[in-house]
Symmetry: C2
Subunit: 323 residues, 2 copies
């Protein structure tokens, strides 16, 4: 755990600079039934860091019974080769998780609550009020270990059980984080229900009520509009986005549906739109191909297939068919 880096690396990004947080190793792998050995996870994480990705949500401190894939949380964190700018995060959904995190070198611990009652009960086995009541002890435990508490909110843009989520419910949770001095909040589009309209609406409402809020958008591409929602976020001034290597992951509610927006596709969009990410797109693509070989199945990423935009072809290579 590196407190100096922690404080620096979640400071607001410079204008034109976008922070891409890789969450595939947690939000992507947790849904994969094929268990990846810890050494291979560490190898992938080291490749990600070498590609220029500074912020990584490495794992989640959940019960090994609930998510066997992430049972190796401590081992994986311990094996990562850091760079100066590396900032490692883990999901810390309760006090037990915070106690485990405290014995590792993570920089940030992401607290979690769903914006809908039903999803929170399904996901964390407790009501929203109970989650809010526990935020304080979880944050205190992390801080005592020098770990920065970060606010995580699930199903912000729609709940697969309850449907549309009132913005006031999101606001109440963000306020609960702010009351504990947690101003960095990740707005999770857990099952891909975000649209340009509700992304804009939620961001504007939160900013209006909580001017100090520092928003990360965690978008899924479940319905194909993930990167369109990124554009809306950029227009609204958001400078932090979560994404998953190769679009790794899925949706527990729809077989074959995609999960998080894809890291390389996001980096491609950002770079082509004039933003800096500090990430080498070719190296990020190579990581996605390595992940694909490891899982032995095609990932959802697009740029990893088509290559960067100006990777040109010889004129005699292909006979095109039409326009």
């Amino acid at each position: 755990m590196n407190q100096v880096l922690a404080a620096e690396s979640v400071a607001p990004a410079a204008n034109g600079r976008i922070q891409v947080t890789e969450v595939g190793m947690r939000d992507g792998l947790q849904i994969e039934s094929r268990l990846i050995p810890a050494e291979q996870k560490i190898d992938l994480l080291n490749d990600m860091i070498a590609s220029g990705i500074s912020h990584i949500e490495v794992t989640s401190f959940v019960s090994p019974k609930a998510v066997p894939q992430l049972a190796d949380a401590e081992q994986v964190i311990g094996g990562i080769r850091r760079r100066e700018d590396t900032y490692l995060m883990a999901l810390v959904p309760n006090l037990r998780a915070a106690e485990r995190a405290a014995n590792t070198s993570v920089d940030g611990g992401v607290l979690l609550c769903s914006a809908s009652e039903t999803h929170n009960r399904k996901n964390l086995n407790r009501g929203i009020d109970e989650s809010i009541a526990a935020f304080g002890e979880v944050a205190a435990c992390l801080r005592a270990a020098g770990i920065e508490p970060l606010g995580g909110l699930a199903v912000v843009f729609g709940c697969p059980f309850e449907g549309d989520v009132p913005v006031r419910d999101v606001l109440r949770l963000a306020q609960s984080y702010a009351d504990l001095g947690i101003h960095h909040v990740t707005l999770g589009d857990t099952t891909g229900m975000a649209t340009p309209v509700n992304v804009r609406n939620v961001i504007r409402t939160l900013r209006g009520e909580l001017p100090d809020i520092d928003i990360t958008l965690h978008l899924h591409n479940t319905r194909g509009v993930g990167l369109a929602n990124v554009l809306v976020g950029l227009e609204e001034g958001v400078r932090r986005f979560d994404a998953s290597v190769g679009g790794l992951g899925g949706c527990p509610f729809a077989a074959g549906a995609t999960g998080n927006i894809c890291t390389e596709d996001l980096v491609y969009l950002l770079q082509e739109s004039g933003y800096e990410t500090g990430i080498d797109l070719d190296k990020a693509i190579a990581v996605a191909h390595k992940m694909e070989r490891l899982l032995e199945k095609p990932l959802a990423g697009q740029v990893m297939r088509a290559g960067p935009r100006l990777a040109l072809h010889a004129a005699d290579a292909v006979r095109t068919a039409a326009g």
Copy 2:
């Protein structure tokens, strides 16, 4: 061929109304090696029309040797059951094609030229000057048969052989169409090289120089940013977009890469953003599933897997893993 409908149906869409043109049967199928019998194409086209899709690019009048999949152009057009608002188009890349189109009931014939010299030679076996010189006779042949000539431009946002395409080259071609009274121009992102920056730049330049221009955006999702580019088009006032059922199609330059943006995903984005399309999303999804069964391979569409946004799940159906 229905001249009254033709004139009405390409009139500027009312505010808030977006025209989605289905191009999967042409731009999607042309790359599929598995030949679909004409009766099954007609069945799919009738389903598309029943789903509320008014504008369809049905086929291309190209040599059956070059594109065996589209050898049945006349048969397919002849078998379609029209509705009042149906407007059928076909690609008409040369005079021979226009002569074939003249003997069918298509409403619009799409002329074609690439914005890069190399791509035009590869695709149409002639230089740009030669293509421009032929526009007049192709348009005249179509008009003599009561078919509306429409302007098609390929590789507008980048050429896989030449790279970035100067906007002045696009402008010159649009001007050539305008000189013939063809003000409706489709800007083709043939291999998915469009970005928010060049989409905005090309649209603004064309509008500045040719205020009468009526733009359709033909975007591909080859690099994952197709629907993000749609948002940019909407912001710039574009109200016509091409798309392909289920995202059918691909890219001749990248195995496994996706083709056109997906019709259902586009309709979902538009409806969720407050635009009218006249299309029933559930029916459009059913067409995509039918196409998938016919081709016996998964298509790239996302909404066809995940379902509409508010198709809710019972709380006891799934145990979620985390945020």
